[in-house]
Symmetry: C2
Subunit: 347 residues, 2 copies
């Protein structure tokens, strides 16, 4: 089953807020609910957000009562802006929407209804391609994993973060299917706990052995020589190889680097933003402090009721800490400034 799919003229998605307690599919009939679902993290993970947004644009096309293609395109532009504003960091959101909008730029004049179909077809194409691209990435990445490796993995980058299969977790999955014995140390990934909730749930499905650790423990395992690889995805990669990814990736990569353990970011080339020279230019989302404050232990709220908090959702890992960037076009090594551009433009 896919995380994001089109069925009965609706966008359907696995509700990732309630896993692993409950598995539910939610349906969407209008683009504004899709934007809200992206913001609320019903769906998360850069590639999954991209596909969801493209289908959201298709919903907007059918919502619009426009009869002329000009009117429809105006409505689509508004809808695209709404969807783009849902979350700022993952570039796949912008990429997928621009690509879906681009499908309407045809040589011949098209009717409004023809454009509606074009948008939906493009969204479906983005979704289908995502799965195929993930499997190619996973093949390239799996070649880096040795039999017996313990891999530290941050956040969730599996089937749930994509349309299907996954990026970094897809690499682990493919290596596992190749018969390599892998043990995963799953960063719980505060504050939203995508590791403890979603990655653990996925690894259970695939029968891959794992142990959950709190994020601040990965340094211990790296220093003790108990982890051979560090893998994560990315929400946006700058032209120089700086990686914006889930908060904690910078500290994890730093600990990997300090102990000579290779750290790989696994991303489709749609996550690479060649328009940004370096990571400092990537917008970083700050979310509701309640995500930090609201956890309970022994049934009681942890923080004092009047406490304040900060909730930075992403950080930038400087490219000097990244061993390689695994894309569907192969593994990219330094100098990233040169090699990343080549990988992105190779089709």
């Amino acid at each position: 089953m896919r995380t994001v799919f089109w069925e009965d003229n609706q966008l359907k998605m696995i509700d990732q807020r309630i896993l692993p307690s409950r598995f539910e599919i939610v349906s969407f009939k209008d683009h504004k609910s899709v934007a809200r679902a992206i913001k609320d993290m019903v769906v998360r993970g850069a590639p999954a957000i991209g596909a969801a947004a493209a289908f959201g644009l298709a919903l907007a096309a059918y919502e619009s009562v426009a009869t002329s293609s000009r009117e429809l395109l105006e409505d689509l532009q508004t809808a695209s802006n709404t969807l783009k504003a849902a979350r700022p960091t993952a570039v796949n959101l912008v990429w997928a929407l621009d690509r879906a909008m681009g499908a309407t730029k045809t040589k011949e004049e098209r009717s409004a209804d023809e454009l509606r179909q074009l948008i939906l077809d493009e969204a479906q194409c983005i979704a289908d391609e995502d799965v195929e691209i993930n499997k190619r990435m996973a093949e390239h990445g799996a070649a880096l994993i040795n039999d017996g490796d313990t891999v530290i993995h941050h956040c969730n980058t599996g089937a749930l973060a994509t349309v299907d299969w996954g990026t970094a977790l897809g690499v682990i999955r493919t290596a596992h299917e190749q018969g390599k014995r892998i043990h995963v140390l799953v960063d719980e990934t505060r504050p939203r706990l995508q590791g403890a909730r979603l990655t653990a749930w996925e690894l259970d499905q695939y029968g891959i052995p794992y142990e959950i650790i709190s994020d601040n423990m990965s340094g211990y395992f790296l220093k003790a020589g108990k982890a051979q690889k560090v893998l994560f995805g990315a929400d946006r990669v700058a032209a120089n190889g700086d990686v914006a990814n889930k908060i904690g990736t910078y500290m994890l990569s730093l600990a990997a680097y300090d102990n000579g353990v290779p750290a790989y970011s696994v991303v489709p080339t749609s996550t690479v933003d060649l328009s940004l020279e370096h990571g400092g230019l990537i917008p970083i989302e700050e979310r509701d402090p309640e995500e930090v404050l609201g956890i309970q232990f022994h049934g009681e709220r942890v923080a004092p009721i009047e406490a304040e908090a900060r909730n930075i959702a992403f950080d930038i890992t400087p490219h000097r800490l990244i061993t390689g960037i695994v894309t569907e076009n192969g593994v990219v090594y330094p100098p990233f400034e040169v090699n990343l551009r080549k990988a992105v433009l190779r089709k």
Copy 2:
């Protein structure tokens, strides 16, 4: 009010497991319950554990039905071993028990009852000295803090981690009382959340402004130039300046170092273990995985029910990442191998 104190022939302690939801004092009449309370973290923080254990030994002295001093010393030795076994990493536990036992080694022969009183007096002396030592440390440390500093603080090192006043948090408290404007970024400190629960609660009492962050966010603030100092305590410091402290200290120190932000460990000299050449020789406690797995979000358990976890309680921060070690005898700078010994032996 002290965190650990003797009253009505009992050891009384603030129950730190239930703060900040409830404030309760628990009483102990026998040394085995004290050992259990240390293990269960009713009391935690290296100096507080030391004082609690010394009072625990006093309880053991009064529990013993021995009439001869020889029999009593045998009972005390057994009790000391039980207390020492409660937690392995903090050296103050061993230090305080050895010091209390040392008080029985007098020139003249003493009766069993005289020895009982000597042990209790020594425990009281350890507790009183702890407060005085903390205030001296705090004075030395406060000189390092500038008006307007944002300080990242890990775990809890305040009045609750000591008999009173605190080590690293004591420094912040003294700087605040000196009129310096300080903002504290409080690492929540997974898995037991001593930062979000205890440090936040203490800062509320003192009126010092703070924001809670998840541990993996500190790298972001350091890289963004939004924190000027990093402060933490220690559970044991090796002769070369390697610091065993709450899990996450290594990654935090690494991020401070990577961004040129000074990181200080604030410890009484009783936390320095000159018998261990380097940090690799310090025993590291691993605790119940349920401390990692058992948190809830929106009232639901976070991790899959069958998930496994690791729960490493401490890590070693290599001395190369430590700017200075603040003790009651002044701030110690590299080379720690030479200067730490001097500071410890200076009385």
